[in-house]
Amino acid sequence: MISSGALSGDLAAYLALLVAGALPNGVWRWATVLLTAKLDDRSPVFIWVRHVATCLVAGVVAQLLLLPSGALAHVPIGVRFGGLVFAVAAWRLARRNILIGWLAGVSGLIAAASFY
């Protein structure tokens, strides 16, 4: 095994980026294009896959707020989820305008975070 601690020079770094970053990440995108080529677009598989993807994205959000990194980790969990509820409420009041809901949520969180 090659230890990445021994990375020296730009070439090694770019090579590592390609082999341990871009390829193992991209392979799922390409494989999916090739594997689904023969499937009927209206098949139930796509309905299932769409719901799995939606659920995954919601799960990613939950995890970003449950296990936050950096500065967000210093903001209490109630404030993090409260900010989200505030954003959705503002979006609703602003006739479903995403930009307004988003601005309200983010500025609300920044305001609350400046107390911690």
Partner: protein, 240 residues
């Protein structure tokens, strides 16, 4: 959501729509990548290249984070690929929109490179309203704008590294979750959609107690997505 009438106009409409918010969002989520790359001795070009070639924040965070921890390339590759499995259902559910007339395999493979959470939520919300023949150019417009912004903000993050106020820093990290949530809520119509979104929020809390984050996410998607699917199929089977 007028997508113009020619492929070229649809492309620019995609660019314009992406610049209304999602491209900035994706860019801002890349701000954090710059400092990570800098920490492990990557050049600014290498940091930007990681955004162009990987184009997925979680994989980039894993990649640079594990280099910093001194992990072997093999274990880095494994962790990165685990973080990228979630791209599969996203790519698969997007493909039906992009497989219109003139879709060749190289074009679809290129298009699939733009699949990232931000691009996916935005496209799933907008593509149904775009004329089928223009969906692919429109999608390329969204992807191109997002990629340009990703490169720009990765470089910016690299240069700024750690010099913002903590409250602003918290706000930066809060931008992406907020945008994802609003897009999901705005896109939900059927009861099944709400089940998928609700399960996605609740299940990680339960699974997270006894599983690692990657496994918890995997189970969440599988169980919540399947539950939503069953509800939708049942509704279709007996139209009330």
């Amino acid at each position: 959501m007028e997508a113009g009438s020619s492929p070229a106009r649809a492309f620019w409409q995609g660019v314009a729509d992406a610049l209304k918010l999602p491209a900035w969002m994706l860019g801002l989520s890349m701000v954090g990548v710059g400092p990570l790359a800098r920490d492990v001795g990557f050049s600014i070009g290498g940091a930007v290249l990681s955004s162009l070639l990987i184009f997925a924040v979680p994989a980039q965070v894993v990649f640079f984070g594990m280099i910093a921890a001194g992990s072997s390339l093999v274990s880095i590759a494994l962790a990165v690929t685990l973080s990228a499995v979630r791209l599969m259902p996203m790519t698969a559910s997007l493909m039906p929109f992009l497989r219109g007339p003139g879709a060749t395999r190289p074009k679809l493979l290129l298009a699939s490179h733009f699949v990232a959470v931000t691009v996916w939520v935005e496209s799933m919300r907008r593509l149904p309203h775009v004329e089928p023949a223009l969906r692919r150019p429109y999608f390329f417009g969204v992807g191109a704008a997002c990629m340009a912004s990703a490169s720009l903000f990765t470089a910016l993050g690299y240069l700024l590294a750690g010099s913002v106020h903590p409250a602003i820093g918290a706000g930066l990290l809060f931008m992406t979750p907020t945008f994802f949530t609003l897009s999901l809520v705005a896109g939900a119509r059927l009861p099944a959609d709400w089940i998928a979104v609700g399960a996605g929020f609740l299940l990680p809390v339960i699974f997270g107690a006894w599983l690692g984050p990657a496994a918890a996410l995997f189970l969440t998607g599988l169980l919540g997505g399947t539950a939503a699917f069953l509800v939708e199929m049942r509704r279709k089977a007996k139209p009330a």
